[in-house]
């Protein structure tokens, strides 16, 4: 019994040690990885590009934005409609 206890205790120590060794090594590896593969600044522009789009619903009264949005809405809707009709037609064929 106390043998089993001692073994288990040893497994506990070795186990926690193993988990920490593995994840500490991984920490360094990730640090290295993100240093070697930095995020290019492009995404910031990407975020900028997205921001106005996100705000569109709020500024829907402003002319240009709303016109663009409407066009998008129309395009999407017409596509949806056509798809729906198209697949219905397929089944009736």
């Amino acid at each position: 019994m106390s043998d089993l206890f001692a073994d288990t205790f040893e497994i506990m120590l070795a186990g926690m040690g193993g988990v920490f060794i593995f994840l500490i090594l991984l920490t360094f590896a990730v640090g290295l990885l993100t240093k070697l593969c930095p995020e290019i600044t492009a995404p910031k522009g990407g975020v900028d590009a997205q921001t106005p789009a996100k705000e569109t619903p709020n500024v829907a009264s402003s002319d240009n934005a709303s016109a663009a949005a409407k066009l998008a809405a129309v395009t999407v809707a017409v596509q949806k409609y056509r798809q729906a009709r198209g697949s219905a037609a397929d089944q009736q064929e």
Binding site: T8, F9, G15, G18, V19, F22, L23, L26, P38
Partner: protein, 376 residues
């Protein structure tokens, strides 16, 4: 007349046993918790239903030739289903938060203390008369502290299949109870000031780093801990499919069709293990007790590790996020966010807690590999 006798003999009433009846009630209780209290319904509803089906006398659904037996022997005993779930989870996991702040891995490591302390606890329970856990059984029970369903099911299918039902039920129940179990511990171990700490915004992570990360984890596993390769390998495969961007249709299939279908099968097959003989034992009480113990210790270890890191490093972290290191994705991260908001209405910790949260998934898979190596 004889026909009527035969018919009566084949009713469930005629061959009702008390144990089966209790187990059916247990199954219905799991279904109740899943539906009414939203206790991990994706798993506990199928598990509960499987428990009811397996205990219907004479139906033999869990005997050779029965449908539950077929699912169990082909998918759970072989480890296939939990590994496929893990593949799907990998395809659903976004490691950005972790890559932006890799120190979070330490929190995921610390929270595994729950597992190993419970291992000792399970062996200690052998001192109670009538309880007798082998080291394999103790290891399978301890993994409940990993707060990760597929890992727990996989490990107990390999080390202690006779306890699989009870372990799975305990694992998913405590994961559902995270919002109840964790907050008191988190508040006990932190000051209000600590809980108010705001963390700096995460940097974006490059696509290349996100692609190379699963491969790096895989190589580290191969070098250091091959026994964890099935779990971590399938997980990394799913994640690589997700991040590579070249196999979108496979990645989506893994996140949807694959994980949904396998969840149905896995749940039924695991539930089918909940028979009176294997569940209505003192051992089950021990498992439930040890599971709670493991969860609480893991939470505490995560929080304390965060406090320790604050002593050493200058860039402060909110110790609440240490609690997310037990995994229980994404529930634990949400609990952290909620506690952060309680301390300060403008303190949003969700994204920061995702780092230790996914680190906890890796941490418990590593712990499972070590237990397979040392106790297997």
């Amino acid at each position: 007349m004889e026909t009527l006798n035969t018919l009566w003999a084949t009713t469930g009433i005629a061959s009702l046993s008390f144990g089966a009846l209790v187990m059916i009630v247990v199954g219905l209780l799991l279904i109740y918790l899943a539906i009414v209290h939203k206790f991990e319904p994706l798993l506990l509803l199928p598990i509960g239903f499987g428990a009811v089906l397996t205990n219907i006398p004479l139906a033999g659904m869990n005997e050779a030739g029965g449908v539950l037996y077929t699912l169990y022997s082909s998918g759970v005993a072989t480890g296939l289903f939990p590994l496929l779930i893990f593949l799907g989870v990998g395809a659903m996991t976004d490691f950005s938060a972790l890559l932006a702040n890799p120190r979070m891995l330490l929190l995921g490591a610390a929270a595994q203390f729950g597992i190993f302390a419970t291992l000792v606890g399970a062996v200690a329970l052998n001192l109670v008369p009538g309880v007798e856990f082998t080291i394999q059984q103790a290891a399978a029970i301890a993994i409940i502290g990993g707060a990760d369903g597929p890992t727990a099911i996989y490990l107990s299918s390999q080390l202690a299949p006779e306890l699989l039902g009870a372990i799975a039920v305990a694992a998913y129940s405590y994961m559902a109870l995270v919002p109840v179990l964790q907050p008191p511990i988190m508040r006990l171990l932190t000051t209000k000031k600590e809980r108010e700490i705001k963390m700096v915004q995460l940097k974006p992570v490059s696509k290349r780093a996100r692609i190379l990360f699963p491969l790096m984890v895989l190589i580290l596993t191969f070098l250091l801990l091959p026994t964890a390769a099935p779990l971590i390998g399938m997980f990394c495969f799913g994640n690589l499919m997700r991040e590579s961007g070249v196999v979108d249709r496979l990645s989506k299939a893994a996140q949807n069709e694959l994980i949904n279908l396998v969840t149905i099968f896995l749940g039924l097959a695991v539930g089918a293990q909940l028979t009176a003989g294997s569940f209505l034992t003192v051992q089950t009480l021990g498992i439930l007790l040890l599971g709670a113990f493991a969860f609480c210790l893991g939470t505490a270890a995560g929080v304390l590790m965060a406090k320790l890191m604050n002593l050493v490093s200058k860039q402060e972290i909110n110790p609440l996020i240490g609690a997310a290191g037990v995994s229980a994705v994404p529930m634990a991260a949400r609990v952290v966010n909620q506690e952060g908001l309680r301390a300060n209405q403008h303190n949003f910790l969700l994204m920061h807690a995702m780092g230790p949260n996914v680190a906890g998934v890796l941490g418990s898979a590593v712990a499972a590999g070590i237990l397979l190596a040392l106790a297997g």
